[in-house]
């Protein structure tokens, strides 16, 4: 038996044991298949979303970006796991064996999460097969209509792939009104249904729509899911070490690697770090009874510190939460001031030290504001909400869209380009109602002292103005109301 076979054999034995331990802990998984692939394949997998997908230059771009990051030393994820039954996971193969084992222990809780979290109840579990079928169909279209024609449709579809209904529990209706009774948030589907398109164009857009939809539950549970996986990975690895299925050195190597994954990042929210901390906090609080009216109303910090009702319901609560929550409510309900302070989850800005180093400096420590900002980024995945008001505006099949303005205007170059994409599909003028901020004089002129002497500093005042942008296929124009 050579090295490779020995390794596989050991992994299979450990895999069996991991499954048993997972079951003991209460994890409820689909059966799990693993594929060990090269780093290069892993890069492709991440770039294309699935092991096989249709052709598009944006996937090529993704690949180049990932390869650049990889070359710069950013660690690749060691696994990609798909929500299907049986579940399939791809692992990097040329990796020290304790990390392969750790990755496997990471995959099973993901599996459990996909099987049990509400968000995934309505998902398509056949996405891999569909993506591969799409690739074959699109190849046929390319032969018939030329690569460029297909590429254009994909470009257009991708411009509005985030303008879909994020509530995937309801299927989109088949018949759309010209003027829907309620503003329609699934613009992409509306276009698929009502734009003057050929069948093959409809097919391409539908695939994009489907893939975007399939990504919705993932996007809305990233923090929970990754935290969940890190938590159980740790528990299972500790057991394996205890049972001597992995050596002391191997366990240490795992710990070192894991610490890098859950490392703190001042410039972006690390879902592994935040997630696992919240889960552990939930476990602790429900074990000790640190919840409920009494707990909320207690103002004595020493008492809160020592609180321990010995309820032991931590795990029970965790399993309930993993079933019924999404990130938004997870953060809202369970991200506490204590957690924020303990992991220094503040808002940072870049500052330069005397010797030219860039260091992060916390500029906001108020946990309420921090929480609000995190939650704010989660609404509609951080994208502006655009809805369709009328598909027959001016009784001439113009499209009328409205941006639901909540204080932040749209970026104008991207707005123009995206609207052009929509127009290419709809083939009639597109109107977009939004609110812009325009300069409106200065205010609060004050004198401050600078190293160059006293200077007058004034802030530019902005005025909000309601605007209707129109693109007629040739140029962009707007009208203020």
């Amino acid at each position: 038996m050579n090295n490779k076979e020995e390794r596989l054999k050991r992994l299979e034995i450990i895999d069996k044991r991991i499954q048993e331990i997972a079951r003991e802990f209460g994890l409820d998984c689909f059966s799990q298949k693993f594929d060990l692939i090269s780093a290069k394949s892993m890069l492709y997998l991440m770039a294309y979303r699935f092991p096989a997908n249709f052709h598009h230059w944006s996937f090529g771009r993704n690949y180049e970006i990932l390869r650049t990051k990889f070359r710069e030393g950013r660690p690749l994820p060691y696994e990609v796991v798909y929500n299907m039954n049986p579940s399939r996971a791809f692992l990097m193969k040329d990796v020290p064996i304790p990390l392969t084992i750790a990755t496997m222990t990471h995959v099973y809780p993901h599996n459990d999460f996909f099987k049990n979290n509400r968000s995934f109840r309505f998902t398509q579990r056949g996405m891999l097969r569909k993506a591969s079928a799409a690739r074959d169909r699109f190849s046929e279209y390319e032969k018939k209509y030329g690569n460029e024609a297909i590429e254009k449709v994909i470009d257009d579809g991708m411009a509005i792939q985030f303008n879909i209904n994020t509530d995937i529990s309801c299927s989109p209706q088949a018949n759309f009104e010209d003027r829907p009774l309620e503003p329609e948030s699934d613009i992409l589907f509306y276009i698929i249904a009502k734009a003057p398109l050929a069948e093959w164009q409809r097919d391409i857009l539908s695939v994009i729509w489907e893939q975007a939809r399939a990504s919705v539950p993932h996007k809305e549970t990233t923090i929970m899911n990754e935290g969940w996986a890190i938590y159980w990975q740790d528990e299972i690895m500790k057991r394996l070490a205890g049972e001597k299925l992995i050596s002391r050195e191997e366990f240490n190597e795992y710990n070192y690697w894991n610490s890098r994954i859950v490392a703190f990042n001042p410039w972006g929210l690390n879902p592994y770090l935040v997630g696992v901390n919240i889960w552990r906090d939930i476990e602790d609080r429900w074990n000790k009874g640190k919840f409920g009216k009494e707990w909320e109303e207690c103002k004595d910090s020493a008492q809160k510190e020592a609180w321990d009702k010995k309820l032991g319901r931590g795990r029970e609560k965790m399993f309930k939460v993993r079933e019924g929550f999404t990130d938004y409510f997870f953060i809202d309900e369970f991200l506490t001031k204590e957690i924020i302070d303990s992991i220094k989850l503040y808002i940072y800005q870049k500052a330069i030290t005397n010797d030219g180093k860039i260091v992060p400096v916390p500029v906001e420590k108020d946990w309420k504001k921090i929480k609000k900002s995190i939650l704010g980024e989660m609404v509609n995945f951080g994208f502006p909400k655009i809805v369709l008001i009328d598909g027959n505006y001016k009784n001439n099949r113009h499209m009328y869209l409205r941006h639901i303005y909540e204080g932040v205007p749209l970026e104008s170059d991207w707005r123009k380009k995206t609207t052009e994409h929509i127009h290419r599909l709809w083939k009639k003028p597109i109107h977009l109602e939004t609110v812009d901020k325009i300069e409106d004089g200065v205010e609060n002129a004050e004198q401050i002292n600078t190293p160059f002497g006293p200077m007058i500093v004034s802030r530019i005042k902005f005025r909000e103005v309601k605007r209707l942008y129109t693109y007629n296929g040739k140029k962009h124009s707007f009208k203020d109301s």
């Binding site: 299979e12 001042p266 502006p384």
Partner: protein
Amino acid sequence: MGINERDETIFKGTERDITRHQKKIEDIIRKGIHEIIAREDIITRRKGQKARVTIRGIQSYHYIFDKGGEGIGHGEGKDQPGDMPGEAIFDTDWDLEKLIDIALEECGLPNLKEKKMIDVEIPEGYKLEGIDKYGLRSLMEKRQVVREAIKRQAGSIRQVAKLTGFIEEECRRIFVKAGGNLYKALELITRELVKITKRSYKECYNSLLKDKTDIKKALGELKQKPLVCEDIERKVFIHDEDLRFRIIKEDVKRVSNAAVLAIRDISGSMGDMKKFLSRMALFWLFEFLRRIYQRVEIRFIVHTTEAELTNESDFIARSESGGTIGASGYKLASSLVDTEYNPTDWNIYPFHFSDGDDFEPGQTVEAACELLKKSNMLGYGEIEPHGFHRSELMDAFQRRLKARARELKEGIQLIEKELNGSLFVGIRFSEKKHLYPVLKEFLRKEREILP
């Protein structure tokens, strides 16, 4: 079983998307070449080094917020490129040579060669290049001939096999017995058929070629025993149509030389921007000419009221006080041509950069015209970054040469005149962003010059 190790890359056909993406980047570079041209770091690189071009990724546009400088860094989470908004910033390493090539293509590299070039043709004997069906016997390409014969023969044998249903080896033997002639081979077979069926030769032959129902039984019989019993050696028959010959061509080397005479006004009035612009213009002119000519030499002349030959770094860096007499530069350039660059062997390209303030514009123009007689093209670049005060030199050129003036683009004025086969181009410009159209103009393909 539960764990599977895959050795091959599970992805096929991904190169296509990467290539397409790179092509899109190249398109972006092409569109932005006029900016890249003016980048200082490009000209400080040495050849063979890669110039790093930063591209703000190619966006998949969608509706996003205008954060306007406020960055609350809750962003990436799991590394999901492309799907997330925000910039994908690439650093692409581009070969300096490739960038220059792109710049040249976008400029429409002028084919001055055809018009005014003095190319020296050196005959270097003959060379063999290509294969033809006719030619001198001594140039016959024997291996190719045999290959063609085998190909043709195999085709014929297959045809016999198809018609008769015999095995190929049997067909080959028949074929060789028939002297390599397909029709003779068919004749052989037909005669045997006649023996068996007792029909006429004509009937059997036609049946063999078309509807075989009549002779099916006979063919079956023929299949049983070999038609040709004797020992038949493996032979290849060569027909006329198989012959192949090497083609002979005259080998001529083209030697082309260009001499660039860079003349710069270094008097006090040439500030930093002027230095930068003249330096950039000269760099690119030099690169462009390098593409056309095999050998390009560049000589540097600096002048105030007097001129001096110098080296490149001095040429760029030097600055003196005092007045300007452009004639000094032109006269020195002229004498250089007389002593070192004979116009029969060299294509001469003087380029003069000044700000137009000249003590003796009349003299300067005369000296320039002297030099113009010996040159392919004389370029005069007048750099005036502080608005357009009427400068004397450009006007003097225009008057003396009776050149036509026109506005090339906003802020760029052009005068041009052809005199006895030599071309004068004078351009007045002031900003970095003029650099690209100016260069393009200096090197344009076709010039429609009005007398």
